[in-house]
Subunit: 120 residues, 2 copies
């Protein structure tokens, strides 16, 4: 039973955090055949934080967790903060693989998505 | 002659700004038939800033500029800062339409892009 955890930065603005939760709902609609759980978590400023999000997935039965950074650039958050937090959490659950997927900005699809938005 | 201006937040980290410039190069590869100029600009912390990016497009012959916010959420930057800067710049060039496209996070494609990253 694999879980997908979408990880966003988190904002003081509730509407921005709710955009992430809404996106998580949409992911559930299209990906429930690939992941039995799909949740979101935040690096800071909103809840759940990443360790709590991972723990929640594992407590609900996940035997693998894929952490997907909802970030556009490979800054410190993507290159250091998220891997550090995941490594600490992994140490608490040595038998459950926790894998970090490529961050959103790394996807080659972005170019086409941007073009579609531009010509609408 | 339409110009596309990809607008990112800008970072103190040069590599993050260069990711945006690299993405702009990739946009040129796929969209040069739709836009005769494709440039990038930044809200802050990197150059060119948005007014300079728009002016550059117009000075090179653009008769229309599409500003495309490379942002994931509709926070203050997307809802207030960018429209404010664009309106000020529009006032300087009343005969050149400057249109703001939907921001990246608003695209329904994002769900599928995230899923592809998750299952790689």
């Amino acid at each position: 039973m694999a879980a997908l955890l979408l990880v966003a930065h988190g904002s003081r603005r509730a509407a921005s955090n709710n955009e992430v939760r809404h996106l998580t709902d949409k992911l559930r609609e299209v990906a429930s055949d690939r992941f039995e759980q799909i949740e979101c978590a935040f690096l800071e400023l909103a809840e759940p934080l990443i360790p709590d999000g991972i723990t929640c997935c594992i407590n609900q039965g996940a035997d693998e967790v894929v952490v997907l950074p909802y970030f556009l650039s490979a800054g410190r958050h993507v290159s250091e903060d998220i891997p550090g937090i995941v490594a600490e959490t992994q140490a608490r659950y040595p038998n459950i693989p926790i894998r970090i997927a490529p961050y959103l900005g790394e996807s080659s699809d972005i170019v086409h998505t941007l073009l579609e938005l531009a010509i609408k």
